[in-house]
């Protein structure tokens, strides 16, 4: 692992029990500043649980979450969080949704709103600032949701299957868009996905988790140079990494064919 001495985000023995089930057995993870890390693994292996703990909406049964070395366990508002559902408020305009973080704290002044407008224009929603979310397509809604996350000004972004509900073409466009946003905004991203291609294409490292109990199985480096052209998807290195991840995920259930690849 190449994490520096002081990682941006660190989990120390983070554990979650729900009654009898061990949703997340003691887990350690360190993410460097500016790194893009994906998390893959079958349903129920604790990915969302881990995110809820990092986001501070779930108090873990044990362990600590550190950001820049500060203990933020159980504290909300420290990271940007985005889910598969865009969760835009239908009664708010696109702009108000983007600045929701400030709005919730009663601090959505002209400065915050101007910043939201700039974000919307920079990333292709400039014509929809005053529209309600119902006027947006699925891809545009997810973009608005990501802008809402960006406008929180947090160094760490947690994206939980953000493109899972999109059709494959839109999803591919969104992946490239996300990479451009990430490169420009210099944030640290932890990204949950079911799509192994997506994980490899986007990430510096892929965390492979397995269920019962939920745990990190292995962490795979993705040494494909950036910027990554579309052709990277078919390179031998890409295939090797992908195969390794598939083996890890499916080795305990050889009867199952990989469904998402």
């Amino acid at each position: 692992m190449t994490a520096a001495a002081s990682p941006k985000l660190a989990l120390h023995a983070v554990t979650q029990r729900f009654g009898e089930t061990l949703a997340l057995s003691p887990t350690d993870l360190a993410v460097r500043a500016g790194e893009f890390v994906s998390v893959v693994g079958p349903s129920g292996c604790g990915k969302s649980t881990m995110f809820n703990i990092i986001a501070g909406v779930l108090q873990p049964s044990g362990g600590r979450v550190l950001i820049d070395g500060r203990d933020v366990t159980g504290r909300a508002g420290e990271v940007g969080y985005m889910l598969q559902k865009d969760l835009l408020l239908p009664w708010r305009t696109v702009l108000d949704n983007i600045v929701l973080g400030a709005l919730l704290k009663g601090k959505a002044g002209p400065k915050e709103r101007a910043e939201g407008v700039a974000l919307a224009r920079r990333y292709g929603l400039g014509d929809f600032i005053n529209h309600y979310p119902s006027a947006l397509s699925g891809g545009m809604r997810q973009r608005a949701a990501l802008m809402r996350t960006l406008a929180m000004h947090r160094d760490v972004l947690l994206l939980d299957e953000p493109f899972g509900a999109l059709d494959s073409q839109t999803r591919f466009a969104m992946q490239q868009w996300l990479l451009s946003v990430w490169e420009r905004e210099q944030r640290t991203i932890v990204f949950v996905t079911h799509d192994i291609d997506e994980a490899v294409f986007l990430s510096d490292r892929v965390v492979v988790m397995s269920p019962r109990p939920g745990r990190i199985r292995e962490i795979i480096e993705v040494p494909i140079p950036r910027p990554r052209p579309v052709s990277a998807l078919t390179s031998p290195l890409f295939s090797t990494i992908k195969q390794r991840i598939i083996d890890l995920i499916y080795e305990n259930s050889p009867a199952l064919e990989p469904a998402h690849v």
């Binding site: 809820n52 986001a55 501070g56 909406v57 909300a76 508002g77 990271v79 969080y81 889910l83 559902k85 969760l87 408020l89 239908p90 009664w91 708010r92 305009t93 702009l95 108000d96 929701l100 973080g101 709005l103 919730l104 704290k105 009663g106 709103r113 407008v117 919307a120 224009r121 400039g126 014509d127 600032i129 005053n130 529209h131 309600y132 119902s134 006027a135 929180m152």
Partner: protein, 271 residues
């Protein structure tokens, strides 16, 4: 604009319906030679309205006030009840039986009891009207509060929102749609409630009282005049709710924020 066109059509259809009903009524009275004391012609009713205009308008105003104040009181009380019931399980447990019981007793019976307690003034009428609105509002607002996606609560909590902020920005607006469907349903029933209240406490003044009086004198033109005004009242009450809904829930009637709203970003230079 097709928006305007659609609006015009929406006004034209009811107008055509109204004309058809009046024409059919006039024709029926004429063709079947129905005696005037059984069924007056539209012209008779119009004449009566013209003759007794001040009393009818005054009655309309009185019943309208009973409706409006009672309606607002009932809607607000219902809303507060729902919020309290949503916030606390014990409160819900205690209030639910009271709510159901309030619904099970016929309005007429309550109305009679209220005259004993509250006399013959405005108060018992307001309470009756309020009771009519109360139940649908509680049920629908409770529904709205319960239907808020748990993920969105989680999301805004992860953004550091306080409980109050979650209520104000997420839960409260989620109640508007079900709230207004309850208000639309109960608007016309509330007018009926006001009439019933005027009957039990048969004081002079409102259109309901006017109707009762005309009826007891076999004054059919007067009865029908009162019916016309009651229909008008029902219509006005419904339209008021529609108008309030239009102002308060702009996201349901358009794809963009309105220009004058505080949400509207006015600098159009780049977008």
């Amino acid at each position: 604009m097709s928006d305007r066109h659609a609006l015009l059509l929406r006004l034209v259809y009811p107008l055509v319906a109204l004309i058809l009903v009046i024409a059919g009524w006039a024709l029926a009275v004429d063709v079947f030679e129905i005696p005037r004391y059984v069924m007056p012609s539209p012209m008779d009713v119009a004449n009566h309205i013209a003759d007794d205009w001040p009393a009818l308008v005054k009655g309309f105003g009185q019943t309208f006030m009973e409706f409006l104040l009672g309606f607002l009181a009932g809607a607000i009380a219902g809303f507060v009840f729902a919020v309290l019931m949503d916030a606390s399980r014990p409160v819900r447990g205690i209030l639910y039986p009271i709510l159901i019981t309030s619904q099970a007793i016929p309005i007429v019976a309550i109305s009679a009891a209220l005259t004993i307690w509250l006399g013959f003034g405005l108060a018992p009428k307001l309470v009756i009207v309020a009771l009519v609105v109360f139940f649908p509002v509680v049920v629908n607002v409770l529904d709205g509060l319960a239907s808020v996606d748990k993920d969105i609560i989680n999301l805004v909590r992860s953004m550091g929102a306080s409980r109050f902020s979650i209520f104000r920005h997420v839960k409260l607006p989620a109640t508007y749609t079900p709230l207004f469907s309850a208000l639309k349903l109960s608007a016309t029933f509330s007018v009926t409630g006001a009439v019933i209240a005027e009957w039990t406490a048969s004081t002079s003044g409102g259109i309901g009282a006017y109707l009762l009086q005309a009826n007891s004198r076999l004054n059919t033109a007067g009865t029908f005049a009162a019916i016309v005004f009651l229909a008008l009242l029902g219509l006005v009450s419904f339209l008021l709710v529609i108008a309030a809904e239009y102002w308060l829930t702009p996201w349901r009637s358009g794809s963009k924020a309105r220009r004058w709203s505080s949400s509207y970003w006015k600098d159009e230079t780049g977008g």
